[in-house]
Point group: C2
Chain length 451, copies 2
Amino acid sequence: MTNKKQMKLSAYLVGTGMHAASWRLPDALPGASIDIDYYVRLARTAERGAFDFVFLADSLAINEQSHPNILNRFEPITLIAALSVATSRIGLVATASTSYIEPFNLARLLLSADRISKGRAGWNIVTTRDLSGNTARNFGAEKHFELEHRYQRATEFVDAVLGLWDSWEDDAFLYDKASGKLFDPSKLHRIHHRGEFFAVEGPLNIARSPQGYPLLVQAGNSEAGQRFAARFAEVVFAIKYNYEDARAYYADFKAKAAAAGRNPDDVYILQGISPVIGATEEEAVAKRRTLESLLGESEILGFLADYFKEIDFSPFTTETTAREAGLDMLEAANPDYRKHKPVIARENPTLREIYSLIIGSFSGDHLVGTPEKIADTLELWFRGGAADGFMLMAPALPEGLDDFVRHVVPLLQARGLFRQEYAADTLRGHIGLQAPPNRYAASRRAESPAT
Amino acid sequence: MTNKKQMKLSAYLVGTGMHAASWRLPDALPGASIDIDYYVRLARTAERGAFDFVFLADSLAINEQSHPNILNRFEPITLIAALSVATSRIGLVATASTSYIEPFNLARLLLSADRISKGRAGWNIVTTRDLSGNTARNFGAEKHFELEHRYQRATEFVDAVLGLWDSWEDDAFLYDKASGKLFDPSKLHRIHHRGEFFAVEGPLNIARSPQGYPLLVQAGNSEAGQRFAARFAEVVFAIKYNYEDARAYYADFKAKAAAAGRNPDDVYILQGISPVIGATEEEAVAKRRTLESLLGESEILGFLADYFKEIDFSPFTTETTAREAGLDMLEAANPDYRKHKPVIARENPTLREIYSLIIGSFSGDHLVGTPEKIADTLELWFRGGAADGFMLMAPALPEGLDDFVRHVVPLLQARGLFRQEYAADTLRGHIGLQAPPNRYAASRRAESPAT
């Protein structure tokens, strides 16, 4: 059975879970979002489940309405560096934005984490969703970059970073103690990047890792984001709330990757899922109900009022529908809303459901139930061309991950849908990708005659 | 015996050691500078020796003449995050420059590492020595900032970072599951920083650590650097090559700290030392000779030609003296030279010795010999008012650290000069400093009447 026939699994780690009320559950650990021992346990659980990688999201600003699990949390690259030492096989993907840091700094931080983990790091490339509306002001600007501008900048940024990552060819270091020749200077390169947004000379002061460089992950939903992902991403992360939408997205994105000159089989699409697992269907439904009941009216309406600054939410309740609130027709000033608007206009959810959609913790009925039901859904989506794998965005942690590893993973393994154990040592190895060749070594090989 | 009566010890970790030829020693590990298992071993050795902290230097550019151990190395903040998980008590100090990163990003990275290590991180604040002459070009500029400008910028940078680190008061998080009150919004703060160089709004999305925030370390040698250190630094790191210079520096710096309104006892001065340890004096001298013999003429002269671009070194050998080369009178374009010029003008060293001075791997005769001799020197410097402690810049690693921990530390302990074991859990605790109060909590306490 080829690697391509098995699904990929990733675990989204975020404090007590994706659900904004998860911190109020009886077993939720106070301070989970900033507890390194807790994150080590989560990562080891995912590794025990032979997951391809754990995933750390990020944001560059908070305000009083932010999700409880992002108010106080680790910076993702330092976190994956720490998790590297506490794990041995699992991939570690950190989110980092291209919008507010120099390419040289980010190239170094990420490749350093990749070396520390011996080739298990990934970079989730974002241009920053400005949910709080105050990101720019943390970096000396008044207004966040517009979407199109952000992706133009991101494209040049990633080009520069990829160039820096090739500064040293893989066989540049000789360590010839007898002659005193430490390295071959012809295998050390400067990129001399001079672009519209950045000038970066190089070389970088760190060399490539066992997997070449960090795996490139992306979650672009806008047209600009998908163009960007089609060009660069090796793993794409999306959230679709039903099978049809997921299949349509999958087919469309693979076509975009092909149009961008990529082999669509080399781009893996993971669908974000927030399953609620119970021993019986009733138990799972009750669990979801408990979580929902812990989410206060004022938190939901307060978040939405901050997100949609143009709407007065005081006349509404959490059961008000999108149409009643006028959200289906709104040209929202918040650019993040673009990706949610089509589904909201079509499905007319309540404000409570809209909140879950925006926060990314919506659990559709197809993902609430027994381990068998969850496995059935994942098998359908995987075999039916809706996903190459899944990003487990557990509503409540550690329970949602523990239960998935204990009860769902063995079912997927028994059905031949998921690996029994790791077969590789690097993240690209888990995914089934080769280390990308160094551009300078590749061009030298292309130039030299066959021997 | 109070904490203040015992010396502080730190280990400077850099690949195969400070000496530029250390990688050629028979036991030197190829790729040591980028081997995480090796760094874990070094950190654990220092922890076994009850060192206050390990220290990671940094630079933001390399060229073909750079020190072998900096060509390919970990970024320091990711490295200390990783070492946090592999150690439990020792402090972990990372160097980071204020010249080419946004305050919000660096504040986050450092406080994240401090939280990951449970209060064991330190920040060695640098404005970047541009040894390679091409730092600026990695960050979109042609010329590196001038010294005075760098420190003006650094002062504002550190002010902003310290403000961001106080975003959350220590008791801001309530985790009140019953009422749904996660935090007290009156204890979340924005700094609204608007300065000459930076605008930073806040709040930071991570809260203070068990030691408040990372220990502030500095190694400024210029007047501007010392002014800066006198204001901010809790630990100062200097390199003086004889007792008289070290005593003069110590007295002068303590006076500067007092003039800046600090208690001079709260600023700890560590002197950098590069001891060569042997079972006998002869063995140590032979070791130093072996190291020197492994350093090629061309490496030394190539480095110096790159460092002093205004001088033609082709007529010289490594035994040419400073006066013969005209270095004693030179107004060097390289600003790093300012700190070495007085000692070079006075002592007239050879080019080989000047190279060691600049690289920071010079081993004076008082530090070449038996463990007893090394301990005698350290005791003299410590009791004589030349140092509050030492930064071990071992010429060769791991040997130089292993030998020091095995043979010198027990002598210092037997003489009551150094702790037998750790008495605290945080880096500030090891040093003997309290966690700094949160500025907002402190001002609230000052305002409220005594009860």
